[in-house]
Amino acid sequence: MKKLHIINYGMNAVLKRKGMLVLSLIMSAVAFFLVNYFLLETDRTELYRKAFEKATGLDADKVFFLDVRAREEKTFSSAVLGKQLTELGLCQACGAYREYADGERVTVFYDAQMVEWFDVKDDRGQRIDLTVTPGQYIPVYVGEAYRQEYPVGSLVTIDDCDYVVKGVLQQSRRIIPDPSQMDVGSIYLSDYVLVAPILSEDYEASYLLAGSGPDHSEIGKTLAGEGLAGYRISFGDLQKSYQKSNDEENRILKSLSAVIICSVLILGFVLASYLISCNTYDYAVHYANGFQVSDIFLMVVTENVFRLFLGAVCGVIAMNIRIGVVYGSGRASVIRDVMLSQQLGKTGLLVLLLALAVGALASIAPMIRIARLNLTDYFRAEE
């Protein structure tokens, strides 16, 4: 490109004006941080979907989500879930892990009436008529704790119903709820999760069930003790995310983010105009020393875009730091990893495009200002 040297020079000029650079970096970094924040927070669909897929290895498109907040039953949320599912005819059984006082751990299945069907471990229990076609294997996923007992590929026959273990939910791949949210029955993938099948033609994969042994508040305490901030992810949220067509909340959040983005545009516009108004002397000097008017305009655009781009990069870095701090390391890493990759991917690109757009837009006012200015006035000698 013919004017590449001017672009290069314009970017250097930005780095040379240090005070201005710091000021504009702080302002645009805050603005872009906010854009990122709202983009990430509003685009929860993607976030949960990715986190879910990463945690389970399942294709989220093939999974049906349902609100399973167990408000009335704290200890056995999975039992409540089972109730809901069976009432809906989506599921005939769900598994949960129960730990008895004497330390014995058993897996139990519940039906819609919350009647204990049978105990997997010692193969006792009431007979329940499952309507699954005999001979058909129903895929299930097991938690870490069942890895030994039910390795991948193993078949489990419970009352004429055949289950095939499709996978193990890895310990490192967890979705841990915010401990403060535990009481409303949000889901987490723990060591002791069984995934029961959904009998629906529309969905290939299984419904994911929450199953937990210890009382939720106990888990909350343990998590808090380990210093995990956790992340709120509940089936309720997941479900909402998937009801894209008539999701009022999503629409409101989207328009909110649009308002934020527009505010940033205006903020950038005003900021850049302000910066330039301090700067016209420099442009006059450039003009007097052979810069063409088009060079000066290109410099204005380059400076604005570059300054905003640097600010955007700072904003993205700040956002990453926030994610790191809030979502910590270790157990909450699925959500964090997904958020970080989103940062660098989609939002990173969007922020860059936004910087270009705002920078170019913000250059209009100063260019008009410069065009109307008599640059020679700067050099009139006094006698």
Binding site: H5, N289, G290, T376, E382, E383
Partner: protein, 222 residues
């Protein structure tokens, strides 16, 4: 050769109309050093800005190096200015965020000269004004005389033949001003054509010729 004929410049309209130049004609030969004198508001800066293609005359003609500048389009005129004129201002017009060397490089950036080449030419220019050791200094960290010498280095770095200076010694004390005038003499010896606006007779006397401007007209004598 620089030649203006019946040059006029009018600012504003109606009641606020100012006839800054009312028909000015003169020639400056290549390699000449000419002073322009006149009282404040006589139109000296206006004339210089027109000669430097920073401004356009309202009427008359201006020819430089065989080109009729007043017939050029705005874009062509800007390019012509870049390739033919170097400016020196009373207030030096150096940029504080750049070193002296970077300031001197400016016209070379405008001409898209490569960086290494730019450095070399700018260093040569600084050397010719005796500022080799101060190349990396900030303008604020050198004296006024040194700033003006750097500004002169910048005016010649682009390699243009016509140097226009508006009160170049106006912000300097007498002896520093005299040093700067020595520098202009040296430039003239190297073949530059120089027009210096000044209101100091001592400065003007160091030039080959003096043009007096009053009431928007020019004369060779007071």
């Amino acid at each position: 050769m620089l030649k203006v004929e019946n040059l006029t410049k009018t600012y504003g309209k109606g009641d606020s109309r100012v006839d800054a130049l009312r028909g000015i004609s003169f020639t400056v030969n290549d390699g000449e050093m000419v002073a322009v004198m006149g009282r404040s508001g006589a139109g000296k800066s206006t004339l210089l800005n027109i000669l430097g293609c920073m401004d356009t005359p309202t009427g008359g003609s201006y020819t430089l190096d065989g080109i009729e500048v007043n017939k050029l389009s705005a874009k062509e005129r800007n390019r012509f200015r870049r390739d033919h004129v170097g400016f020196v201002f009373q207030n030096f017009a150096l940029m504080g965020q750049y070193s002296l060397l970077e300031n001197v490089e400016l016209p070379l950036v405008a001409k898209d000269v490569r960086k290494a080449e730019r450095r070399r030419i700018a260093m040569d220019a600084l050397k010719s004004v005796g500022l080799t050791g101060k190349a990396d200094r900030n303008p604020a960290r050198v004296s006024g005389g040194q700033q003006q010498r750097a500004a002169i280095a910048r005016a010649i770095a682009g390699g243009n033949n016509l140097i226009l200076a508006d009160e170049p010694t106006g912000a300097l004390d007498y002896s520093t001003g005299a040093e700067v005038m020595e520098l202009f003499r040296d430039l003239q010896k190297s073949g530059k054509t120089i027009v210096i606006v000044t209101h100091e007779k001592e400065i003007a006397d160091k030039c080959d010729r003096i043009l007096y401007i009053s009431d928007g007209k020019v004369s060779e004598t007071l």
